[in-house]
Every structure is written in structure tokens, then in C-alpha cells.
Amino acid sequence: MKMSAILKKEFLVFFRNIGLVMFILYAFTLDIYIAGKGIKVTPRHVSIGYVNEADNLIVNKIISHFHSPQFKKPKLFLSEKALKNAIYNRKIMVGIVFSKEFVKNLISGKVAKLQVLIDSTAAAQAEVTLIYLQNILMNFEHKIKIPANIDIIKLFNPNSNTKWFMSLSELMSNITMLGLILIAVVFVREKENGTWDIMLLMPVKGSIIIFSKILSQVLILMVGITISVGLIIFGIFNTPINGSLFDFYLISFLFSFAIGGIALVIAAISKTILEVAHLTIVIMLPLIFLSGAWTPLSSMSPFIQFLSYFSPLRYYIQATQDIFFRGSGFVDLLPYFGAEFLMAVILFYIGYRKIGRLF
């Protein structure tokens, strides 16, 4: 009863703020569309692995062209299988297999075939890496005047559709941002309008007020996600979904609460909505950076990779990509659900303690 009163009130307030509603609609539709269509990414610290079956100097020559800052030092693998495994586990993004054939053909002036494996779940980076690879080989061709063909095997995202990735990544960044803002604002608005005291004087437990307020915004987020996935992701970009949509909603729901915990901390320390906006940006950037949305985790330093375990967005993105592109089922996703749930519980507890002090 009391919860429904709070929910109703928060929905009314939300819909009467036309500006906010428009912004949210924009972030869930047009912005996702633009991101899917547009962004170009230069590779940074892309991790490369290779198999050198030929054990030839030419191979080392080619490999030496992959250097920082675009690439990390290429890693040697003993078999194609080990390389594939590393890619599956996201340790490596691009794998090159130098077969005996390749080197032989290269030397003898025939058409040489090079096999490249890429983790296309980070399609943008993979694609640009390929262009680099082509350029490097091209330079070689000029010197030794032999044609080389690149045989690309794309893992997990056979069509390597950049827009699918970019739009999903953008959606997840936006959910993070909007989750932080919306949830922090339901509290801070009460401070700004001077209704905080009135709220405290209601004969309702603080925990119920806090929970209902968050729930109202999580539901708004869910509606936004539905609009975005339906209209843009499926509707315009025709993104395939190999796993189950239910799993995606479940992980989104868990993620919203993890974000809600952080938003509570923001709400506790901000006095104005402007402060919320500032803090959101400050907090959002590392969250996204640590999640692997922009730069694949496998190409980050071990310390940062370790830190990334504390970003709720990491599990969200990985689970989402797995649901959409790898078609992972519920059981395969359990680790993500578990981790996200844990994050939600921990962050929520911290946030709750922090804002609870104001009640």
C-alpha cells in the first residue's frame, strides 16, 4: 500500500518532467542508433597471439611490426588449439596462425595464405586490427613482391557486425549513466525542493522509502531497455539473439540494483541535481573503462584486469554479449549472474548504509 503510493508518486513526478523524459528517450533510441552507425575506434593495446608452425625468420619479422601503443607484445602459442582457447577466455583478441604452407608459398612466390582468428565480440577493435595486419603484410609484399592472402576466421560473431557491438555497448553505457542519474535524482530532488523533511516525517520505515524509490526508477529503466532493444537493437540493426531474452532482462535487473547502490552513495553526498550530474560522470568513466566496453579487458594490464572484477558493468557486458552472440544458456551464465548478484548486494549495502544515515 505505502509502497504503491511511493511508486505512483515517483512515476507521476517522472512523467511531468518532460525534459527528463525526452532525454531518456533520446538516450535509449537515437543515441544508440548514432553509436551503432558511427563510431570509429583505433586499436589500443590489442593483445595478439600467434602460432609459428614454420618457425621461420619471416614470421618474426612480420610479428615485430605489431608494437605498442596499438598492440601488446605478441604472445607465442604452441598450437592452434591453445590459441583458440586463449581467445575464448578473452586473454587474446587476435590470433595469427603461420602455417608451414604459408611460409613455403611466401618464399616460393606463390599465393600465400595466412590464417587469422579474431574475437569478433569486440568487433570494432578486431576490424581495425585486421586493417593494420593487412597494411603490415602489404609492406612486406612490396619488398618481396609476393601476394599474400589473409584467411580470416571470425569466432563468435561470424558476420562481425560492428553496429551490433557498438549499439549494445552504447546501450550498456547509457543504462549505467541513466541508472546512476535517475536513482540519485529521486532522492536529491527531495533535498532540492525542500521536501526531504516531509519525507522523513512519514510514518514509514526508511528502508521501505529507499527501496520503493529505487524500484520505481529501475522499472523506468527496464521500460527504456525494452524500447531500446525492441526498436533499435532488433528493429533497426536486426541484431540476432542466440540466447534467451529472459536472461538478458534478469542480468539487467541485477545490474540496475548494483548501480542503484552506487547511486545511493551519490545521492547521500549531493545536495543538488547538478552535483549528481558531476559525480555521475566522475564515477561512470572508470566503471565503463574497467568493464572492457571500450578497450577489451584482455589488452589491459593485469592490475587493471584485476580491478575490473569490481566493476558491475564487466559482468553485465560479458553476459550480454554471451547471450546475444554466443548464445550461452542459463547455466553457462551462472557465474555472471552470481557475480552480478554479489556486486548488487555489496554495493546496495554500502549505498543503503550511506543514505540510511540521513533517515
Binding site: T195, L201, M202, T272, F359
Partner: protein, 535 residues
């Protein structure tokens, strides 16, 4: 010499016409007062003159004619407007001193130490220059906005209810300043809800429902109502009573009294066929202890500053206790401690016989307490009906109970026609009544009202006090109320006076009258404040 000519000015917001065809002129060095009920159109006309809203008609300032805010840009450095509302123009995170720097820069003024010091002293803010505006009391905020509008020494000063929530001592000082600046060539248009202030102006214009219905000196306006003014207060369906006078169109068997400006409102209302609201409040017995609130040496500190210093206070069952004191004396702080909105630094608090220590101690008591804050804080994105429904539900009323109660109170308190408006769209007096309704829905046994009548028009205030006393008489509710209208203190059973965080008087109103025979309560208050010089 005329400095301002207003010709057929109308202002409307959508369909609603706020002021229609207003015409008047203002002489050099003249101080003109605007009085009238809430929503009568005073603010709209003031805003049109200051060139901040668009209007129809023509305004001529000196020799410059303007028809729109854009055209008014040219003269804005000679005009200064202070809008209504508790410190709306302030930035919560700037200190008092920084506000001065900011406004000086904004207006391109040279620093005048002496003058600024005077303004600060007048507002009682001299010692608090480093305090953030957000931490000032309501009245202190009002006074800060006021002196900021005086900073530029405007040629034409436009003040929209500048003294709302300002204590009597500062009000007197404000008039000294305005008079002095008039000597230096300033003219002013000031709207006010304090009739004692309006009497001091050169000329007064009375507004009613978007029209100027009378204008003249105070004594001229009063002249018209002397036939309808009687001594004492009575309970009647056809006459208004307020502040020891009764106003009635039909002859009464009472002694005639010398009218005051306040009477103009009542007589005007009567002439338009308005009747006082009769509040039908069912009689009820409530079973509560005799002492509702007992505070023992309550203390609140903000850093090194002591806002409330060891205050002892008792509120008995069915009692109206007036909490008086200058701006910043610690009234709101004390109420917030009683409500549990501020932690108590020292002292003990008992509510309804129960020692209050923690959050948990309070939660069940919350349903027994009603509170109206100094800012009438309600949800501005919800209509009045939605606001009330929300509060009712939060207090655990079910659908049918809640709609019944809401209907009852909206009729009882006379805001039924505004139910589907947003709080911003209705006059302050209506907001005040609906805040009280929101605080009453759950039938509390004690009400805390922080300046519920500040900025509310005379007729609405008289209705409000009738309601309060009825609530007390019929429902046995105890009420703790703060006000800066000293005449309203007469309606309290007892008053406690705070000065700089210390309680200096706590006595029955009748006893104070005995102690200071022949004085009205404003003078009694000023006397008390002068006598008890703490610090």
C-alpha cells in the same frame, strides 16, 4: 514630477488574466504600496514594470516608453526588483559576503564599505558574513535578498512582499533605510501583507481579482469602512472578525471602533458577497497524556555557533503555544529538534510521555504528529489532489477513507476548486491551507506549524486562526506555532520568546498584558526584546 506612468497594462498567463488594464502613475520620491489578497495581481504588475514578464499596454519610465521585457532592458540598471519568496535569488553555496561581491560585480558597482556595512547591520547579518546562504534562517534569507536589491541604489525600487517572514525589529529598520534612500531621490513600489507597513506609505492601491479597486492614503481608505467596523470579535455567518475587531455590513449592536487598514479587506470581501468560512469540526475526545511535548535543556550547535541554548519547553494537551523571536533566534531549529529532523546535541526530549532517544522511538509517533514547514514544502509536480492522496496513503488510510477525508478537508478549508491545480498555480493562502490539510489528514494530536501565516493575506489569515482555534477546541489538538505577526500572538494561550538561542520569556498571554498594560502585542514584544539583553 512623474517618474513612472503605467497605461492599461494587462498580464495574462495562458487563459488566466492576472491583471487587467492597470493604469497609475508614480511621482518622484513617492512610496506607493500595493495591497490585496493573494493572487490579486500585485506581483504580475510589479513584474511587468520591472520588465521581467511580457505584458500588453504601455509603461513610461522617465521619458522612455516600453512595451516588452526586451525594450525594458535599457532601463534595468535604474530599476531593482526583489521578487517574492524566501530568498529565491540566493545561491545556497555562497556566503553572505560572497553574495555581496557577486551582485556588486554583476551590476558593475563600486564598493562602498560604509553603505554595505549599514545594510548588513540593518539585516542583522553583519556577524554572519561568512555563513552560507543555505544555512541562514528563513527570515535571514529574506533580509539578505532585500539588502542585495538595495545594493545598487536603484532610482526605482520594486519590492514584492519584502518583509514576509521578517521580524518586527528588522521591519522597522527596513523602513528607516527606505525613507533615507527616498531622501536621496529614490521612488519605490512595495507590496506588503503587513497593514501597519502599508499605513506608512504615501499612497496605497488596493488590488482585487486583477483590478485596482481603490487608491489613496491610508486614512482615506479607512474612512470608507468606518461605518462597518466594530469592537471585539463575534462568531457570525455574515461578519468577519479578526484582531479584536468585527466587520459587518449590517448594523450590529456593538461599539464602533476606529478602523485599521486590515478592515479594508474584510469590508471589500463582504461587499462582494463573500462570507467567512465556518469550519465544522466534529467534537472528539482524544486520549493522550496531559503533557504532549517536554523538552529539557535542548541544545543545538552548528560548529561553534549555538543555535539553541538549553531550552526548556512544555506543550500541554489542547494548548496553543506561540514561539516568537527575531530572525535566526532558533525557532525553526528548535522545532526540527522536536521533530527529530536535527539530532539533539544536549538535553532530553519526551513526546507523549515517552523518552525519545533514537529513530526507532519516533517511528510510531510520527502518525501522531503533523508538521507544516516554513516553506510549505509540497510536491510541486503533483496536483493538490495527488499530493493529498499521497500523504493519506503514506499514513495508511485506505482509498475510501482517504477520498472522504480529502473531500472533507478541501471543503472545510475552502480549496475545493483548486484540487486539480499544481501548488505553483494557486495563491499562497491556498497552499498554506492545503499544507495544513496534508498535515491533518492522519488526525495527529499535535501540530507543529512554522510560520504558517507568513505571506498569506489578511482574510486567509483570519480564516486560518479560526480553524486553528476550532481544531484545538473541538479535537483537543495541541499546537506549536511560530509567527512574525505579533497580533497573532493574541490567539495563543501562551508564548515563549527566543532571543539568540535562549528562551527569555515563557508566559501566558494574559499575564503579559497585565505586565505591560495598554500595549499591543507588537510593543510588548519589542519591550521584552529590549529588556532582556543577553550577551
Amino acid at each position: 514630477m512623474e517618474i513612472l506612468k503605467v497605461k492599461n497594462v494587462s498580464v495574462s498567463y495562458g487563459k488566466k488574466i492576472a491583471i487587467k488594464n492597470a493604469s497609475f502613475s508614480l511621482k518622484d520620491q513617492e512610496i506607493l504600496g500595493f495591497i490585496g489578497a493573494d493572487g490579486a495581481g500585485k506581483s504580475s504588475l510589479l513584474h511587468a514594470i520591472a520588465g521581467v514578464v511580457s505584458f500588453d499596454g504601455e509603461i513610461i519610465y522617465k521619458n522612455y516608453t516600453y512595451h516588452s521585457p526586451k525594450e525594458a532592458e535599457k532601463i534595468k540598471n535604474e530599476i531593482s526588483l526583489m521578487p517574492q519568496g524566501l530568498g529565491l535569488v540566493l545561491y545556497d553555496f555562497l556566503s553572505v559576503k560572497e553574495h555581496f561581491d557577486f551582485f556588486r560585480d554583476l551590476r558593475g558597482l563600486k564598493k562602498d564599505e560604509e553603505y554595505e556595512k549599514r545594510l548588513l547591520k540593518m539585516a542583522g547579518l553583519y556577524e554572519f558574513q561568512d555563513r552560507l546562504a543555505g544555512n541562514l534562517s528563513g527570515g535571514m534569507r529574506q533580509k539578505l535578498s532585500l539588502i542585495l536589491s538595495l545594493l545598487a541604489r536603484p532610482k526605482l525600487l520594486i519590492l514584492d512582499e519584502p518583509t514576509t517572514g521578517v521580524d518586527p525589529i528588522s521591519r522597522a529598520e527596513l523602513w528607516d533605510i527606505v525613507n533615507e534612500m527616498r531622501e536621496e531621490g529614490m521612488s519605490a513600489i512595495i507590496s506588503t501583507a503587513y497593514m501597519s507597513e502599508a499605513s506608512k506609505m504615501d499612497r496605497i492601491m488596493l488590488f482585487d481579482e486583477g483590478e485596482i479597486i481603490a487608491s489613496g492614503r491610508a486614512d482615506e481608505l479607512i474612512e470608507n469602512i468606518k461605518d462597518y467596523t466594530y469592537e471585539g470579535e463575534i462568531e457570525s455567518k455574515e461578519c468577519f472578525s479578526f484582531n479584536k475587531r468585527t466587520y459587518c455590513l449590517k448594523p450590529l449592536n456593538l461599539k464602533k471602533a476606529t478602523p485599521t487598514l486590515e478592515g479594508v479587506f474584510f469590508v471589500n470581501a463582504l461587499k462582494k458577497g463573500k462570507k467567512p468560512i465556518i469550519f465544522e469540526i466534529p467534537k472528539k475526545q482524544i486520549d493522550i497524556p496531559n503533557i504532549i511535548v517536554e523538552a529539557k535543556c535542548l541544545t543545538k550547535k552548528f560548529g561553534a555557533f549555538i543555535a539553541d541554548n538549553c531550552i526548556n519547553l512544555e506543550l500541554k494537551k489542547g494548548e496553543i503555544l506561540g514561539l516568537l523571536g527575531a530572525n535566526g533566534a532558533g525557532k525553526t531549529t528548535l522545532i526540527k529538534m522536536l521533530l527529530g529532523l536535527y539530532p539533539i546535541d544536549e538535553g532530553e526530549l519526551y513526546l507523549l510521555g515517552k523518552r525519545i532517544k533514537s529513530y526507532e522511538d519516533r517511528i510510531e509517533l510520527k502518525s501522531k504528529i503533523g508538521y507544516v514547514s516554513q516553506k510549505f514544502a509540497l510536491y510541486k509536480d503533483l496536483t493538490i489532489r495527488e499530493n493529498l492522496e499521497y500523504f493519506a496513503k503514506m499514513h495508511g488510510l485506505n482509498m475510501s477513507e482517504s477520498s472522504k477525508k480529502i473531500k472533507e478537508y478541501s471543503q472545510m478549508l475552502g480549496f475545493e476548486e483548486y484540487m486539480d491545480n499544481f501548488p505553483k498555480e494557486v495563491p499562497l493562502g491556498i497552499n498554506q491551507r492545503f499544507s495544513v490539510a496534508a498535515a491533518l489528514l492522519h488526525e495527529p494530536v499535535v501540530l507543529f506549524l512554522d510560520e504558517p501565516t507568513s505571506g498569506v493575506d489578511t482574510v486567509a489569515r483570519s480564516a486560518f486562526w479560526k480553524l486553528i482555534r476550532k481544531l484545538k477546541a473541538n479535537m483537543g489538538i495541541s499546537i506549536l506555532i511560530t509567527t512574525h505577526y505579533m497580533s497573532e500572538a493574541e490567539y495563543c494561550d501562551r508564548v515563549a520568546v527566543l532571543k539568540r538561542g535562549v528562551k527569555i520569556v515563557d508566559d501566558k498571554v494574559e499575564n503579559l498584558h497585565k505586565k505591560y498594560p495598554g500595549l499591543d502585542f507588537e510593543d510588548i514584544f519589542l519591550n521584552i526584546y529590549k529588556e532582556k539583553q543577553n550577551k
